[in-house]
Amino acid sequence: MSVAELIDVEVAYGGRGALGPFSLALAAGEIVALVGPSGCGKSTALRLLAGLEAPQKGQVRRGARPGETAVVFQSPTLAPWLTARSNVALPLELSGVSKRDARERADAALARVGLSGREAARPAQLSGGMAMRVSLARALVTSPRLLLLDEPFAALDEITRRALADDVLALWRETGPATVFVTHSVEEAVYMASRVVVMSPGPGRILAELATPQSLPRPPGFRTTPQFRETVEQVSAALAQGMAAA
């Protein structure tokens, strides 16, 4: 049974179609990348999967309970008045975990994203990449079954992006949540996902679906392999076709 499923969903804002009809089923433990131009409804699809929004038409089926879903936004979205530890502990405390347990689990989650020793730092004292790691730790601390990443690296420089991409894959392998990854970057999509879903300009529909070569996480040098380049070309071609048709 799928962890979450969108069936022929349609969303419009103020009468203008934003998404759909669109269908997507997520199996346990897979990473699906959604690529498409700005305004194609990628983020809307993510909010539907999270249960933060309801579609006007179609159905959303969610196997994961509300507490088993985690979202990472484009910006780290940390509370500036809380320390890294308290930010990570927040989802646990909101769902009634005791302060002490929440704190311990938060420290463990921060250690997993390589931020041991920075537990007491405030977001303003962290670099953009580190803040994003805190955000990632907060998403993982609840051991979600469904992980939704909304262009999480968009604001970061290329080197930090690549490092974080590998980190996310390593973390994903530990607990294997079904993951949806929204991105503008074709290369990032092919690198991160086992399946790439190419969307048309808004209202977004599925133009193409491609499985990526090799297993996750990626072996070193994967970006230079011919299979990687070829898949990137295929996805780019599908995107370009969609743009031309629109």
């Binding site: 933060l52 879903t69 500036p80 909101l94 730092a121």
Partner: protein
């Protein structure tokens, strides 16, 4: 070097203006009840400083009491407005009307309500009316200013209303509250002085009384000295609240 220049430039300008003033008044033989030279103002300041400080203290005490009253009421009202959209809709026009009505126009009315024998109550009430709006408005804005993505996270993790208020909206509002109090502090002084002009000051004579008293006697130099004291008091209070705001923000953001 640059910092020295930053301080020197305004000081030099003020000294030049004062010198021009002094020379012009003497050269043109302007009567001192129209415009006394700065030296006469300095003399008045030297002669009156004890009573000026006492009066400044009285005005400050009124303003601070008003600020406390305004702060409590405004934050309570804003909290109510945040919890109940109906209350927000009900309060907003009242708050706006209160804010756009000149305080000097309501002063005689408040004076009657407070009782002619209790001008200090009228002063505190009027200064509080003036100080209310910036705090209310800041608090209302602040309570709605939480990062929408953080709001979504609270939705996602099933936060209840209490958690959302205490752990998200109130902390998000802090910078707006600090700003609101800073503006309100300056306005409370203005309100207190205006109210004192209308209501009189009873036994505790504030700076407005000093200004009125000197004006009735055509002692223009003493009037200017009292005005200077008032300006300094306002600036000092503003600086204090600005420092509080900076410290508060530093604590809030952690740097």
């Amino acid at each position: 070097m640059k910092r020295i220049a930053d301080i020197l430039a305004p000081v030099a300008l003020i000294l030049a203006l004062l010198a021009t003033w002094e020379i012009a008044v003497r050269a043109l033989a302007v009567p001192s009840y129209v415009l006394p030279p700065p030296s006469a103002v300095a003399e008045a300041l030297a002669g009156d400083w004890k009573s000026l400080i006492a009066s400044a203290w009285n005005t400050l005490a009124m303003a601070l009491q008003a600020l406390i009253v305004a702060s409590l009421l405004a934050q309570l009202a804003a909290l109510g407005a945040a919890l109940s959209p109906a209350l927000h809709r009900a309060l907003r026009p009242l708050a706006v009307v209160l804010q756009v009505t000149p305080v000097i126009a309501i002063a005689p009315l408040v004076n009657i309500w407070a009782g002619i024998d209790h001008p200090e109550r009228a002063i505190v009430a009027l200064a509080a009316v003036v100080a209310f709006f910036p705090i209310f408005s800041g608090a209302v804005t602040g309570l709605r200013s939480a990062d929408p993505d953080l709001e979504r996270l609270f939705d996602l993790y099933g936060a209840n209303r209490r958690q959302r208020l205490l752990r998200l909206r109130l902390p998000s509002a802090l910078p707006f509250l600090l700003e609101g109090h800073k503006v309100a502090a300056g306005l409370a002084i203005v309100g207190a002085v205006v109210a004192e002009f209308v209501a009189g000051s009873g036994s505790a004579q504030g700076l407005a009384w000093r200004i009125l008293d000197a004006s009735h006697r055509l002692q223009t130099a003493r009037m200017l000295a009292a005005l200077l004291a008032l300006g300094l008091l306002g600036a000092a209070l503003y600086a204090l609240f600005e420092a509080l705001e900076r410290a508060g923000l530093k604590w809030w953001r952690g740097r």
